[in-house]
Symmetry: C2
Subunit: 333 residues, 2 copies
């Protein structure tokens, strides 16, 4: 019932070949013929079936996106950047989150074999790097967003985590805070190691090297950040600042400081990482190292699309700059 290329051809008195040619604006069509065909297309409201085009051309003009979760606080920004870019290029975006065990991972890889999409954008779910590498080796174009420090063999977009950590340190040092407590993320993440290295080195260079008791591995949750800082406070405060490797952890830290009857930033200054939407709305607003999440999404999508339309991809990763956003959780100048 929907109108097909055959209907258009019949109505315009030409062959399907010709219709296809004006559809794809191949040059070798008589101007008046083309115009007539275009009129019919408009009149009939014809739109080529994407499935048929894909089958005939061997490509789907669709990109896949795999994410570990859609509810993480910064995921919306990444997604928005990706969708905007993919849509503007006239591609479709197929969304996957294989977060229900091995079963769903398998289902996902079978979608790949089904050639449902031409390329893949991914925020890496845990333990999927091997699978992704295998897909890439089999010829699927893949671009990673935030490599988690795994440095895969395919292109990725990340942020200057080391610089970000260093900037957080310099900001706290400038405020005269010499005894920070660092709440890292899981140590297996490269971004965590980078953030910490930047922070630690900056403190060392300033003549205030971090002692072993000043660094605690956390898990990126608000609850754990709160628990750790709460315990440290109860055991007797020996720090004048907290640097958390993500904003949620920083929010937990602030809650613990307040719960202990202390003030942010006067007694304990707090710096987070990410600049999630909530960061500007906490009390006090959270000073944080901003990652340009939306731009990271746009950039990754742009790389993948370029690859799909024939361009070669940059051999080296794309590293976008972080920036410190100073707010009320650290002392003003």
């Amino acid at each position: 019932m929907p109108v097909t290329i055959a209907d258009v051809a019949r109505a315009a008195g030409v062959s399907k070949t010709t219709v296809s040619r004006v559809l794809n604006t191949r040059a070798e069509v008589d101007r008046s013929t083309a115009e007539r065909v275009r009129d019919v297309i408009d009149r009939l409201g014809y739109v080529p079936s994407s499935g048929a085009v894909g089958l005939a051309r061997g490509q789907s003009r669709t990109v896949g996106m795999l994410v570990p979760s859609l509810t993480w606080p910064w995921m919306g920004e990444v997604m928005q950047g990706v969708v905007d870019t993919v849509e503007a290029a006239g591609f479709g975006l197929l969304l996957f989150t294989c977060n229900r065990g091995a079963d769903s991972v398998e289902r996902f890889t079978s979608q790949v074999s089904a050639r449902a999409f031409d390329g893949l954008l991914v925020v890496e779910p845990e333990n999927t790097l091997d699978m992704l590498t295998a897909l890439h080796r089999k010829g699927l174009p893949v671009v990673l967003i935030d490599d988690r420090g795994h440095h895969p063999e395919f292109p990725y977009v990340t942020a200057t985590n080391r610089d970000g950590g260093a900037e957080a340190a310099r900001h706290l040092l400038a405020a005269g805070r010499h005894r920070p407590l660092v709440l890292t993320g899981p140590a297996r993440f490269g971004c965590v190691r980078d953030r910490h290295a930047g922070f630690r080195d900056a403190y060392a260079e300033a003549g205030h090297p971090l002692g072993p008791g000043q660094v605690v591995e956390s898990d990126f949750t608000e609850a754990h950040g709160r628990a750790v800082v709460g315990e440290r406070l109860a055991a007797g405060r020996e720090f004048d600042a907290v640097f958390a490797h993500n904003d949620l952890g920083a929010v937990g830290a602030m809650a613990a400081v307040h719960a202990a009857g202390l003030r942010v930033p006067q007694d304990v200054a707090v710096v987070g990482f990410d600049d999630i939407p909530m960061a500007a709305l906490t009390r006090p607003p959270l000073t944080t190292v901003r990652q340009p999440m939306r731009r990271m999404g746009e950039t990754a999508a742009g790389l993948l699309l370029a690859r799909l339309t024939g361009e070669a991809l940059p051999a080296s990763p794309v590293v976008l700059p972080t920036s410190l956003v100073a707010r009320g959780s650290t002392p003003g100048p």
Copy 2:
């Protein structure tokens, strides 16, 4: 290069028809033949091309999802519910956000004509109801999530907005707050009218009818909520509570109360609506009327999938219950 059904047929010494039959588990295949074919499929790692299957069957086993924005604080939960449900059913999810003007709306509708998906889930972007209604009339199955009170002619999933408003009122009344300030959302939204009706009636029934000065139309932003409450406070406080129609507005209200040197909840109690992830993390944590966003997403997806697999859809909308989550921004019992 990828393995096709013809490869499998050849290797198994049968026709493509037979392979297709075991693939789709039609009964009329000899058991031993079927087993042999299955072995070959496994050995070759064959997966049917989704595009080809779709073309032959006239359906894509993909559902589309249209949203106004991916960065709204509750969108992640809705999306997660949708994706989980759609994935579990073995369908693909194609994501659209036509938020770049009429141009992108047109691009979206053309995707529909291209039969890229079999059904559509939508959180309605502004001014798209007519377009959606037209698509539905042309035969596209559509399910709306949160009807915004438009009561469209196709199925939708929403929450008990009126009850939610009433529950907020009863909660504040129980705390002895008789002079609330109401910060509504845009009046054109049906959910806003419902929330307000429930709240207003409950106050009236309790003998404390709302005066005209106690209701202000806001726009669901934190900034406007803060501005309105700030002005009211500066003009002389004549309210002991704020009911905001969304959590972001409530967060703004709390900020304004604190900025005025007053306390939440002692001087001004605050109740929000939605229960976004941030609500539990504010200082004090925000009392709010919870909408089961993830379940709304799951439910809508389930309805659409049922429809696509042949079941009839319920004529009446599905209305999920809201629930009041009491936290620190209102006085305890």
